[in-house]
């Protein structure tokens, strides 16, 4: 096995280390060299931990014979979005208001679980300020450096896409894992709300905030999820559990296809890729069932209102002190609007959340669905110098354009995985979202893995050598 960071997946790298094709040190060194080469133009990282990562790698090579069975991520280069506490490093959240913040005393719980299971942290990645937005400046998209990677976990997704880590931690409040995953041709898994711990994560809207992994392949995302969910005992059965339904592809799987909302006013190339993906799912034996979820726009509204009001409360001090001027204008106005919305709107949003959760539960039950399949987002990566997105019905601001299909699932709290499903005419990645019932992360990963195996989109990688 050759060590080619342009193409290697996390599980392939684990195999390479197991088979002694390369050492943890060699993997880490190559990863850091790649970061040195790409970072000046990509800006995926806030900080790369060169010395620390190399020292950790040396230790792991020595300790590996003893610890391999207990450390399923031994030596894997992992990146962490800079809203997660990582002991000994500051959590700056992409904000000038935290430029001089003290270092974190301990790891966030999710970071701790990754470290405990052998992750070698390569660095902290760029986030939109306080995870509130989709641009992730100054990070750019590895597929086209004139474009944004999406956000708010944009640095994490860009780093995975370019191969300066093999997995990354992100968070998703309104789409912040799935949006950058779709725009960078990576796999993003938003688990069921509330199932992964938020301790040590700087909050945006705690009723919606959801940590999750970004990876290069579905099996990698599933492995990282198992570690994050404290289900390490299951990591050695990944191949068995991800080959679903007795090895018969997707035979017998019932996939709901919403008739409206998710396909209205989306870019034509995204729509074409989505319909092509549905055909692949049918060819694998799945049954497509057209469904109607009339409450989808309300679910989006629920997530939007809860997001604004909770973030306004979280940042109560930031918008009332002199440091308010240090916030980006777009961040500041979000928090100010949240602070102005009255409490009865919040209460109504929480009640409406229960109503839309009940409504989507009925859709699944009525049609006996296993999953839904929808476009991850409505567009491909927008240009960094023109944050408006063109649609058949006109232009939209980038925030609305990229979140309107993702936010409903934050309101319902369902698990969603975004997998690459093709490219537009400019060779920009497009994402397919598989949406599961609560706690059915395995179900969505199984469908996504079968789709991935049939299409192999994940084997196409960002044109790093050509563009970076």
């Amino acid at each position: 096995m050759t060590l080619d960071l342009a193409t290697i997946t996390l599980r392939q790298a684990l195999d390479g280390i197991d088979s002694k094709a390369f050492s943890v040190f060699e993997l880490t060194r190559e990863t850091l060299l790649r970061a040195r080469a790409t970072e000046p133009e990509l800006h995926a990282y806030v900080e790369v931990f060169e010395e620390l990562a190399l020292k950790t790698a040396l230790y792991m090579d020595r300790a590996r014979p003893r610890f391999r069975q207990r450390m399923p991520l031994t030596g894997m280069p992992i990146a962490v979005k800079d809203i997660f506490d990582l002991a000994g490093k500051p959590t700056k959240c992409g904000s000038r208001t935290r430029e001089h913040v003290d270092v974190a005393v301990r790891d966030a719980e999710t970071v701790h679980r990754l470290r405990r299971d052998g992750a070698n942290f390569i660095g902290k990645t760029v986030t939109q300020e306080f995870a509130a937005g989709v641009v992730s400046a100054p990070c750019r998209n590895p597929w086209d450096l004139d474009r944004i990677p999406g956000g708010s976990s944009g640095g994490s997704a860009a780093a995975v896409a370019i191969g300066t880590c093999l997995g990354a931690l992100g968070s998703d409040t309104g789409g912040s894992i799935r949006i950058p995953a779709a725009l960078t041709g990576t796999v993003g898994l938003k688990p069921t709300y509330g199932r992964l711990p938020l301790k040590g994560v700087y909050p945006l809207a705690p009723a919606l905030d959801t940590p999750g992994p970004i990876a290069r392949a579905v099996a990698d995302a599933w492995l990282l999820y198992l570690v994050l969910a404290n289900r390490t005992a299951e990591v050695h059965q990944i191949d068995e559990v991800l080959v679903p339904y007795g090895g018969k592809g997707l035979e017998g799987v019932r996939i709901g296809v919403p008739a409206t909302f998710f396909t209205e006013n989306i870019q034509p190339d995204v729509e074409a890729a989505y319909h092509a993906a549905l055909k692949v799912l049918v060819s694998l034996g799945a049954e497509l069932i057209e469904v109607e979820w009339a409450e989808a726009p309300v679910a989006r509204a629920v997530a939007a209102v809860i997001n604004r009001i909770e973030s306004g409360a979280i940042h109560h001090d930031h918008i009332r002190q002199e440091e308010a001027d240090l916030l980006r204008p777009e961040t500041r106005i979000r928090f100010e609007v949240g602070a102005l919305l009255p409490s009865d709107v919040y209460l109504r949003a929480r009640m409406a959340r229960e109503a839309v959760r009940a409504s989507i539960a009925k859709v699944y039950a009525r049609h006996e669905l296993d999953v839904l399949a929808v476009p991850s987002i409505a567009a491909v990566a927008p240009r960094a110098d023109h944050l408006q997105v063109a649609f058949p019905e006109g232009e939209e601001g980038v925030g609305t354009a990229l979140t309107r299909l993702t936010m409903p699932w934050n309101a319902t709290g369902q698990p969603v995985i975004s997998v690459p499903c093709g490219f537009d005419r400019d060779e920009l990645p497009i994402g397919l979202a598989i949406v599961g019932k609560p706690d059915d992360e395995l179900g969505i990963c199984r469908v996504a893995q079968q789709y991935e195996a049939a299409t192999q989109w994940f084997q196409l990688h960002a044109r790093s050598e050509a563009t970076v």
Binding site: V298, V302, R320, A339, L340, V345, A349, M351
Partner: protein, 75 residues
């Protein structure tokens, strides 16, 4: 957006609200803040479409038991 109360709050109403919540906003930022606020009010109105007669959901029942407390957190 025009300063139309039918479509949301007016700039004058916004000034009053800002005083209530103790927020100081430069005058030139008020129109943008008003428009953003009114956009969120649009979402808030949409919520009402599912609240009339909506059955209580059993999706997320309240758990009355104490949450688990780690020793280090209890100190």
């Amino acid at each position: 957006m025009t300063d139309s109360p039918e479509r949301g709050i007016t700039t004058d109403q916004l000034r009053g609200m800002l005083r209530v919540v103790n927020l100081t906003i430069a005058e030139e930022r008020l129109p943008l803040l008003r428009d953003e606020f009114n956009a969120q009010l649009g979402f808030a109105r949409l919520l009402e479409t599912v609240l009339d007669g909506a059955a209580e959901s059993s999706f997320d029942p309240f758990d009355p038991t104490f949450p688990k407390v780690e020793l280090e957190d209890a100190r």
